[in-house]
């Protein structure tokens, strides 16, 4: 019986170990997972009345944008400051897009905050007021372009 337990343990270790091996490795990131393939984000984004969200909380736009985003983060400027937040669709390939949401006056987040943006509160950022919106498809600006105040 002890041998049985030993072998079962061996089997479990192999199962978990081989799985963890791939989970840990960057190479196992699923490039083609549903969140990394954007097939409909841009038309859905452009169908929104984007200008109507100016002056409203960030979350009001987040709630209407396509929910299958791949990343949501901050747009840093200098060291410890931000000019807004973004939501992205896809990661590689020729079918990527992202929305840049500019915030002129932060009321909930305080700066400078010289920690990586991964530690910043997106919950508070959602409460901030939108000043400007830009949309990119395959890294080419397709909405809100050429405003010299938002680059």
């Amino acid at each position: 019986m002890n041998n049985d337990k030993t072998w079962k343990l061996f089997f479990i270790v192999i199962l978990c170990g081989s799985t963890l091996f791939c989970v840990k490795g960057q190479a196992c990131e699923p490039f083609n997972s549903p969140n990394n393939v954007d097939t409909s984000a841009v038309p859905q984004i452009l169908a929104l009345p984007l200008s109507s969200y100016i002056g409203k909380p960030v979350d009001s736009l987040f709630l209407q944008l396509p929910s299958n985003y791949s990343y949501r983060g901050f747009m840093p400027v200098s060291i410890g400051y931000a000019k807004g937040v973004y939501q992205a669709y896809g990661n590689y390939g020729s079918n990527i897009s992202h929305v840049e949401i500019f915030i002129d006056n932060f009321q909930y987040l305080s700066f400078p905050n010289r920690t990586p943006t991964t530690t910043w509160s997106m919950t508070l950022a959602k409460l901030e007021t939108i000043s400007f919106i830009k949309v990119y498809s395959n890294n080419v600006c397709i909405y809100g372009c050429n405003n010299p105040n938002y680059y």
């Binding site: 081989s18 799985t19 791939c22 196992c28 973004y86 990661n91 390939g93 010289r114 943006t117």
Partner: protein
């Protein structure tokens, strides 16, 4: 549960086999994903890629799905440089040639990450009814013949000029050692240094229809004794013999009637005007019977070689001198703008622009402008070669004084040069005590390093990733000054100032006594 010895053996053996299978498939999955990385990179197109190139990439993508050749192709010749494609013709299959009309040629160069030469070019021949693919290797040039009378046919010289143009576009190469005299002039000229010039495409004639360029190649022969060839009649003073001979002409589309230029037809080809290599064009020509008179391009190219201007590109002392000279071109402008930025805490920026007046080319600072307290955006044009901005401090107690480059600064350089395509080579920052400069030494490595470091192709995410990597490095040095922390930060996102990896070099100079030296890790 009780087992007999035999059933226990079967049970344990099954467990072991299952475990091995599990590990095997996990590893296969790992390999497949590695393959995906290569494929993804192969088919990653810059945002400004033309539709005709996108269509070609899409066609190759479909071919690869059926034949899985990309990984082997990348191993042999590297990745396609999609933003350096040469299009010969209208790009719309329209009939523009006086003879053999309705043909477009698209040439896509392939390079290795760490290489300094263009390894091959994919030639895509588009007619109204068909599209033919073939790989062209520089070693194949003798196949095309050395007769330059019938300009409607591709010659060995055309092959050389095509690769020379790619070398110039990708690596900035302008000089070559040319050992095969049949390319230019024949005779017994010894291996000579040749300077190849291509004109500014904006000056070409009828550019909207043809994409063609004027080329000129000049050989400089330096003899040390009286063995100058007879045809070099200028060599009267053999001891100081230094002669220049030039050839010139139209290429990639032809001049005047448009009859001059590319017709991909190697001598001896049985294909009749085309390479006939659409089938399995991706195959290694050294592993199959070439046939059709095509010499297998398996040897090392020795008849010409680009002269890599290592003294210019890699010598830090020369780079430092050039940075100083460039910075001094702005005169007192950086200092006065820095003082203004200090007064109103508003960042200033300007652009160094190449200005051509007649035959004289000069660099001038232009378009000084203000930003916000934290950032600015320079005006950029097709002749912008460097950008400058301030990192002003707010006062004697402000911890931000002397701040070196930050993550978003480096991102901007990446975006301006790689994504937007402006020919920016240098980014300067003036701080209270120092001037910093980042110079791009290899744009391809720069692009590869940044996208690999960020793990994404989404611009804003690249910026955020660079920002965070910079801040992580700052935090590692707890006892450093703010200036030293920010220097650690920029070093962290430039592979510790290893340009062989990052494609850039970071320099620093005292502000009051300009002397740019490489920033040490």
């Amino acid at each position: 549960m009780l087992y007999s010895s035999k059933s226990r053996f079967v049970y344990f053996t099954s467990l072991i086999l299952f475990s091995i299978t599990l590990v095997f498939f996990n590893c296969r999955r790992h390999e497949d994903i590695q393959f995906d990385k290569v494929t993804h990179r192969f088919f990653y197109l810059p945002s400004n890629t033309s539709n005709i190139v996108k269509n070609i990439a899409q066609s190759i993508y479909v071919q690869n799905q059926q034949n899985s050749f990309v990984r082997d192709l990348v191993r042999r010749v590297g990745y396609p440089v999609w933003n350096k494609v040469i299009i010969n013709g209208s790009g719309s299959n329209s009939s523009y040639r006086n003879t053999g009309g309705g043909v477009d040629f698209i040439f896509i160069p392939f390079t290795n990450d760490n290489g300094t030469m263009v390894n091959s070019a994919l030639v895509v021949e588009m007619t109204a009814s068909d599209t033919l693919y073939s790989m062209l290797y520089p070693q194949e040039f003798p196949n095309f013949g050395f007769s330059y009378v019938d300009t409607s046919k591709t010659s060995a010289r055309d092959v050389f000029l095509l690769f020379a143009r790619f070398q110039n576009l990708i690596y900035g190469t302008k000089e070559y050692w040319i050992k095969d005299n049949r390319l230019f002039g024949g005779g017994s000229r010894p291996p000579s240094k040749a300077n190849v010039q291509f004109n500014d495409p904006t000056n070409c004639i009828n550019c909207s229809v043809f994409q063609m360029e004027w080329w000129e190649i000049c050989f400089t022969y330096s003899g040390s004794n009286c063995n100058c060839p007879a045809e070099w009649d200028q060599c009267d003073l053999c001891s100081i013999c230094a002669v220049t001979q030039c050839w010139s002409g139209w290429t990639f589309g032809g001049g005047g009637g448009g009859d001059d230029g590319w017709g991909y037809e190697p001598e001896g080809s049985t294909g009749g005007g085309g390479s006939g290599q659409t089938s399995n064009w991706w195959s290694d020509p050294c592993e199959e019977d070439a046939g059709g008179g095509r010499v297998e391009p398996c040897g090392t190219l020795s008849e010409w070689s680009p002269i890599l201007d290592t003294s210019d590109v890699l010598n830090d002392s020369i780079i430092g001198q050039r940075l100083k000279r460039l910075y001094q071109k702005a005169g007192g402008m950086p200092d006065s703008l820095f003082q203004a930025a200090l007064q109103d805490d508003t960042e200033r920026t300007f652009t160094f622009v190449t200005s051509i007046s007649g035959s004289i080319s000069d660099t001038v600072p232009m378009w000084a402008k203000s930003g916000t307290s934290l950032s600015s955006s320079p005006t950029l044009t097709a002749n912008s070669i460097a950008i400058w901005h301030t990192h002003q401090d707010d006062g004697p107690t402000d911890p931000y004084k002397n701040q070196s480059f930050d993550g978003p600064d480096h991102f901007k350089l990446f975006k301006n040069r790689i994504i937007d395509g402006y020919p920016i080579q240098v980014s300067f920052i003036t701080t209270r005590d120092y001037v910093y400069a980042v110079i791009i030494t290899n744009p391809i490595k720069f692009q590869s390093y940044i996208t690999t470091l960020a793990g994404t192709n989404i611009l804003t995410r690249i910026e955020e990733k660079l920002n965070n990597a910079h801040i992580d490095a700052m935090d590692l040095c707890t006892a450093c000054s703010f200036q030293a922390k920010t220097e650690k930060g920029i070093l962290a996102i430039t592979a510790n100032n290893n340009s062989e990896i990052s494609g850039v070099k970071v320099f620093r100079s005292p502000r009051n006594n300009l002397n740019f030296t490489l920033l040490s890790p």
